[in-house]
Every structure is written in C-alpha cells, then in structure tokens.
C-alpha cells in the first residue's frame, strides 16, 4: 500500500503565519508598554519646562512665530488670514489655531 507523503492542510500554514504575525505585533505592543512606561525623559523635560517657564516645543524654529506656535504673534505680516501662520515650510502645514485665543480677538484674548 502506498503511503501519501505529506498531506497537509492549507489552514495549518495560515495558522503558523498568523501566529508569526501576531507574535511580531505582540512584541511591538510589549515593547510599547515597556518603553512607554519609561517616563524619565518626560520627568527631565518637565523639570526644565517648569524651571525655565517654557511653553512650547522646540519644533518649527525657523519662522517668525518660531518656537512658539501656541503663542504666536497674532498679526504677523504676510498672512493670508488673521489667524494663519505665514508661508514658511512648516507654517504651510500648521493649521490656523481657531481656538486661540479661546475667546476670540475682540477682548484681547481675555476670558
């Protein structure tokens, strides 16, 4: 009687691949949980932010609103609208901050 060499189910291969993918994703998640809990960097940053009274990230440092998109001068020159940032590489991608100041411009931003 002839034996069949290997009869394998296609689904078994799928399970192996799925397990491999899930394993990879699980590693990423585990890494995220493990490293994400590491807040030493935040602690260092926060201490500095408090000590120096910093209010913004050091991104977008090149434009006239440099460094302080959250506190930009509201009436910079060369603006399309009163609330939009000037045309500068990153400025082109920064949204006009509509909620800034929160109460609008009428009362000088006081709330």
């Amino acid at each position: 009687m002839t034996r069949v060499r290997a009869i394998e189910r296609g689904s078994s291969a799928v399970f192996v691949l799925a397990a491999a993918l899930a394993g990879g994703a699980a590693l990423a998640i585990a890494h995220g949980v493990w490293r994400g809990g590491d807040t030493t960097r935040f602690e260092a940053t926060r201490a500095l932010a408090e000590g120096a009274g910093l209010t913004d990230l050091a991104l977008f440092t090149e434009a006239r609103y440099a460094r302080h998109p959250a506190m930009a001068d509201l009436h910079s020159a060369f603006q399309d609208g009163p609330l939009s940032f000037e045309h500068f590489p990153s400025g082109a991608l920064v949204a006009p901050a509509r909620d800034f100041p929160a109460a609008g411009l009428r009362n000088g931003g006081a709330r």
Binding site: A25, T61, D99
Partner: protein, 381 residues
C-alpha cells in the same frame, strides 16, 4: 460550534490554497496594502506620540501667560503691570519672563534666548554664564566650559561660558535654547530694567485658572491671557490637523487601492469562473463560496494590516520615522534630535483599521458576490 469551526477551517484550507495558486498577484496586492498601512500607521503613531509628549511636557508649564498687546501686536510687559497682577486673588508666583529669538547668521539657525526662572535654583546663572540646549551645542560644537559667542542684530557681543549643556532627553523643548542671566539678556538686547517679554503666572487652585485670568484681564485690559489649556488645545489641534491633512491626502491612495482591489476581485479569469462553477456543482453553496472568498480577502487585508502596523511601529519608534518626519514634524536647521517614547493608542489603531480595512472589504464585497453567484450548471454547458 465545533461543526461551524470545522467548516470554516475547510473553507480556510481552500482559501489558502487558492491564494497560494495566484501568489504573484496576491502578493502584489498584499504588499500595496501593507505599504499603505505602513505609511498611514507611521503618520498616526507619530502624531499620537508627539501629542502625548506635548501634553506631558506642558503639564508643568506656567498656568497662565499674560502678553502685553499694543496695536494688536505683542509688546513688552512692564514691571508695574506685574505689580498690578499681584493684587489679583488666587494668582501665585507671578514673574516676568525674558525670552526672545536670535537669528544666528553663522549657523543659519534661530535660537531662543531666555532667562531661567528665579524658582529654579539648579538653572541659576551668574553673569557671563550660559546653559545651552542640545541643538545649539551640536551646531556650535559646544561643551561644558567652552565659550559661546553671540552677536545681536544691533552688533552687541555676548560672551558666555557654557555652564551646562542640557540633556538630549529634553531636546524636544530645549534644542534651540540658550539660557543666560537676566543681566546679560538685558544688556544683549538693550532692554530697560523694567521691561519683560511677558508674564508667567501660577494659580494655586487649578479650577480657578479661568477666574484668575478673567480678573487679570480686568486689571490689565491691554493684555491677553493665555491659559495652559489653550496651549494644550492648540497643540492637540495642530497635530491632529496635520495628521488629518495627511490622511485626507492619503484618502486618495486608499481610494485608488480600493479601486484596485475592486478591479482585482471583479476581473475574474475564465479559469477562476470555471473553478467556482465546479465547486458549486460538486455541492458547495453560494454562501460557502462567499465565506471562502471573504476568508481570502480577510487573510490578505488583516495580515497586511498587522504587518504594516508592526513595521510602522518599528519605523517610528526604533528608527525615528525617517520617511515622514519632514512632513509631520516640520524641519529646521536646529531640529531637535529625540527618540519618541513609544505610545500606541487603541483609538488610533482602530481608526486606521477603519480607514483601510473598511474600504477594502466594501470594495470587494460586490465582486465576491458576483463571483459566487455564478450558475453551477455552467460547468456542464
């Protein structure tokens, strides 16, 4: 239940064999899907991580910043105004801040010059001393003990000994920072002793922030009061908006992909049509074929999604997102070097699953049905 699963597993057997038989075409589809998820996933992971950074960093920022306004423009704050604010009940630790920008021609970069708060003893500086951020140190090749030379637009020279280089860990807020003593700052920018850039306030009771800034606005009507919540919201909106913009652009890509998938699923070869006819003739039913085809679509899309997402994670958090950073982070000479702290947000992942899996499955549903409803007697004709 076990009967149900046994049946699904047989359908899976067939689906996997069927995918394997057309591996070239399916692999291309898979790769495009995975690449799409990879790019979008990178954007979303990066965006949520940087928003989290901003939120955490700003947690200890001043509660309220008051800026003087003159003809709608930012103006210098005066020491007398600080005194007026001190009478507002609930306001605590009010101090004038000194900060300004300096465009440095030798490195083509913008620095932020600032004086440390009086409440931070470890940042305290004597005249002629400076603390510099990681980016400044990098560009000017500075280290502790060396001297920093700056020239003001008016031609004044500042020479300061570097007391400390701020740790790269805080680069996200400090990359372009040069901290100097108030004395040096005023001399460098030719500022009168009673002038400040703006006023930072702390409020004892967090729920009183709104009230305090309201009272402040009454006391100083020509000032605008910016609360920390305002700033946090601006950042949230800013990065969400950038992400949204990128995704809106990517919608085109998703749509193109859905069309591709639709085309792939509906453009059946005569060979495939005959196979479906055979399956139905030998006892399969339309819904079996639909399920089998859905398994195929599910295998491709879900595995491509998981793979793309995992790769995006590696890209963003292990390699600092080289492919997308210019778009998402902005760019500058003095860009901070920082590794984002990993943060995976279930909402974001679910969102991405919605944005990619949903159009794909929706696009292939009708072609799958059309395939599956082929007449079984076709094979006999």
């Amino acid at each position: 239940m076990s009967g149900w699963w046994a049946r699904q597993r047989y359908l899976l057997d067939y689906a996997s064999a069927s995918l394997w038989r057309r591996k070239g075409r399916n692999l291309v589809l898979w790769a495009i899907f995975a690449a799409l998820v990879f790019i979008l996933g990178s954007v979303i992971l990066f965006g949520s991580a940087i928003r989290r950074e901003a939120a955490l960093v700003l947690r200890d920022a001043p509660d309220v910043v008051a800026q003087a306004m003159r003809m709608g423009r930012h103006d210098m704050a005066l020491a007398s105004d600080i005194a007026k604010l001190k009478s507002v009940r609930g306001a605590d630790r009010i101090e004038g801040r000194l900060w300004g920008y300096l465009y440095d021609t030798s490195t083509d970069a913008n620095y932020t010059l600032q004086t440390p708060s009086a409440h931070a003893p470890d940042l305290a500086l004597q005249k002629g001393e400076a603390i510099v951020g990681e980016g400044v140190a990098r560009l000017r090749k500075l280290s502790e003990g060396k001297h920093l030379f700056l020239v003001s637009p008016a031609g004044r020279l500042l020479k300061a000994k570097v007391k400390k280089v701020l740790s790269p860990e805080s680069a996200l807020v400090s990359s372009d920072l040069v901290l100097v003593s108030a004395e040096d700052f005023r001399a460098f920018f030719e500022l009168a002793p009673d002038q400040f850039t703006d006023i930072a306030m702390r409020v004892r009771n967090p729920s009183e922030v709104g009230t305090v800034s309201g009272k402040g606005a009454l006391a100083l009507p020509h000032y605008r009061f910016i609360t920390r919540a305002n700033m946090a919201r601006t950042y949230e909106a800013l990065f969400s908006w950038r992400e949204g913009l990128l995704l809106a652009i990517a919608t085109g890509a998703i749509l193109a992909f859905a069309i591709l998938a639709f085309d792939k699923a509906s453009g059946l070869s005569a060979q495939e049509r005959r196979e479906i006819g055979i399956l139905k003739a030998i006892g399969w039913e339309t819904s079996d074929i639909i399920r089998m085809k859905l398994w195929e679509a599910g295998l491709i899309s879900v595995s491509a999604f998981v793979a793309g997402m995992t790769l995006a994670y590696l890209h963003v958090f292990a390699m600092s997102a080289p492919l997308i950073e210019t778009v998402l982070k902005g760019w500058s000479t003095l860009y901070p070097r920082f590794a984002l702290t990993p943060h995976v947000d279930a909402l974001q992942v679910t969102t991405l699953a919605f944005l990619t899996l949903l159009p794909y499955i929706a696009a292939v549903l009708a072609p799958i049905w059309r395939t599956a409803s082929a007449d079984p007697d076709r094979v006999m004709r």
